[in-house]
């Protein structure tokens, strides 16, 4: 490769300077994208409530670039918190990753919103194929006890309105949507009484 004497002078030992420059550039870009990927994975919502996480800036014009990017990837077209608050869980109450080989119970009371639903997604964020065509339970469909509380069985097999099908194996996650959230829920979603996610038996 022809190089001008001027360049050679400017970069002592510069025989390797162009490849080195290229390598630095490629590595830098790769490192930047890798860091972005990690930061999007890590910043799963600033507000924690048991296994649930949310962010009040979702959809808002006040959202920081990181929140905006995370929502774009994980929940595009999510509504702002006046219309809905989205809680996301990929672990049980004890912080263990939700796993298709285990059964779970999602139990609690109506959170402070006009309507709510709990939807199960696979780890790519889409609904899980199942024979019952059942992907969620909601305020309208959930089975309740005499005191108004509910308990949903999350398991690959089951029946009835208290069952939410999970995959036979592999990770999955739950989204709790609270529509028309009340003042208290919006003011402090971290303190709201949200459903527990209790692990049962594992295969």
């Amino acid at each position: 490769m022809a190089r001008t004497p001027h360049l050679a002078k400017a970069a002592p030992g510069g025989r390797r300077s162009l490849p080195r420059l290229l390598a630095t550039g490629v590595l830098g870009v790769a490192l930047g994208l890798g860091l972005l990927w990690t930061s999007l994975r890590a910043s799963a919502g600033s507000v924690r409530n048991g296994p649930w996480r949310t962010d009040l800036d979702i959809g808002s014009t006040a959202a920081g670039p990181l929140t905006r990017a995370r929502i774009a990837v994980g929940g595009l077209l999510a509504l702002r918190n006046t219309e809905a608050i989205y809680f996301h869980a990929d672990t049980d109450d004890e912080g263990r990753t939700l796993d298709g080989r285990c059964d779970y119970r999602v139990e609690g009371r109506d959170p402070g919103s006009a309507w709510w639903s709990v939807t199960l997604y696979d780890d790519t964020g889409y609904l899980l194929r199942n024979e019952a065509n059942r992907w969620s339970v909601s305020r309208s469909t959930v089975a309740r006890g005499a005191d108004g509380s509910f308990s949903v069985r999350v398991s690959p097999t089951g029946d009835g309105p208290g069952w939410l099908p999970s995959p036979a194996s592999g990770p999955f996650n739950l989204t709790l949507r609270c529509y028309e959230p009340g003042e208290a829920l919006r003011a402090d979603p971290g303190a709201a009484d949200l459903p527990r996610i209790v692990r049962g038996g594992c295969r």
């Binding site: 030992g13 080195r20 630095t24 550039g25 590595l27 830098g28 870009v29 490192l31 930047g32 994208l33 860091l35 972005l36 930061s39 979702i58 959809g59 808002s60 014009t61 959202a63 670039p65 990181l66 905006r68 990017a69 929502i71 774009a72 990837v73 994980g74 929940g75 595009l76 077209l77 999510a78 509504l79 702002r80 006046t82 219309e83 006009a114 309507w115 639903s117 939807t119 997604y121 790519t124 964020g125 889409y126 609904l127 899980l128 194929r129 199942n130 065509n133 992907w135 969620s136 909601s138 309208s140 469909t141 989204t175 949507r177 529509y179 028309e180």
Partner: protein
């Protein structure tokens, strides 16, 4: 020492710049991909319905079995506008729904991918017995407007006059009574969400979903 430090600093600077640029470009990119998928899906459905695409007719491209063929009038509008500025009813959400990540199986969606460079749009959605919301998203994914039909203002449904950024012209006569909203970007998307509180209610709600309109207004 110095020979190591300089490339290391350059590496970090490039990484930081990449991180920053990609972070800001990502929402725009994801939004563009999603809206063009919605538009191209609608155009494919419209072609199938209009019978202009012999290969597609009778194929599963028209959606699941419970999703009717696109209405011929709607198909004509979709083809004429290449999927822009027209309300597109989505099939009921199932495990086959892959256009947008984390779709809700409890909602019926209708979408209008807009471009306001030719002027304002009027979006109308009928009142639902369950719940209806209209929301608008800028090209950077910001949800700059959301309203539902639960309040006293929603008993007749919702209507939205969507105007381009900086537009201060008086509301067109055709948009009387509509809520005027200025979009922060020329392009974006409006979504109507109808709550399906019980599967038995689906036919009734599908009929309402098909009455959502999104059209240029003068």
């Amino acid at each position: 020492m110095r020979s190591l430090l300089r490339p290391l600093l350059a590496l970090l600077a490039i990484a930081a710049a990449t991180w920053l640029v990609a972070l800001h470009a990502l929402p725009l990119f994801v939004m563009r991909v999603a809206t063009s998928r919605i538009r191209s899906g609608a155009v494919a459905e419209a072609r199938a319905a209009a019978g202009t695409d012999a290969a597609a007719s009778g194929s599963p491209a028209a959606g699941p079995a419970n999703h009717r063929r696109m209405d011929p009038e709607l198909a004509a509008r979709v083809l004429e506008r290449d999927g822009w500025n027209v309300a597109i009813p989505a099939p009921p959400t199932t495990s086959d729904s892959r256009t947008i990540v984390r779709p809700s199986p409890d909602l019926l969606y209708a979408a209008c991918v807009y471009d306001l460079s030719a002027g304002p749009l009027l979006v109308r959605a009928p009142h639902a017995p369950t719940y209806l919301s209209l929301s608008a998203f800028a090209e950077n994914t910001d949800n700059y407007f959301a309203a539902n039909d639960r309040g006293p203002d929603g008993t007749e449904g919702l209507s939205l006059l969507l105007v381009p950024p900086g537009d201060s012209s008086p509301a067109p006569a055709g948009a009387a009574g509509a809520t005027r909203v200025e979009s922060p970007s020329l392009r974006g998307i409006v979504l109507a969400r109808f709550r399906v509180d019980h599967p038995d209610r689906l036919p009734e709600l599908v009929a309402l979903q098909r009455r959502v309109t999104c059209d240029p207004v003068r």
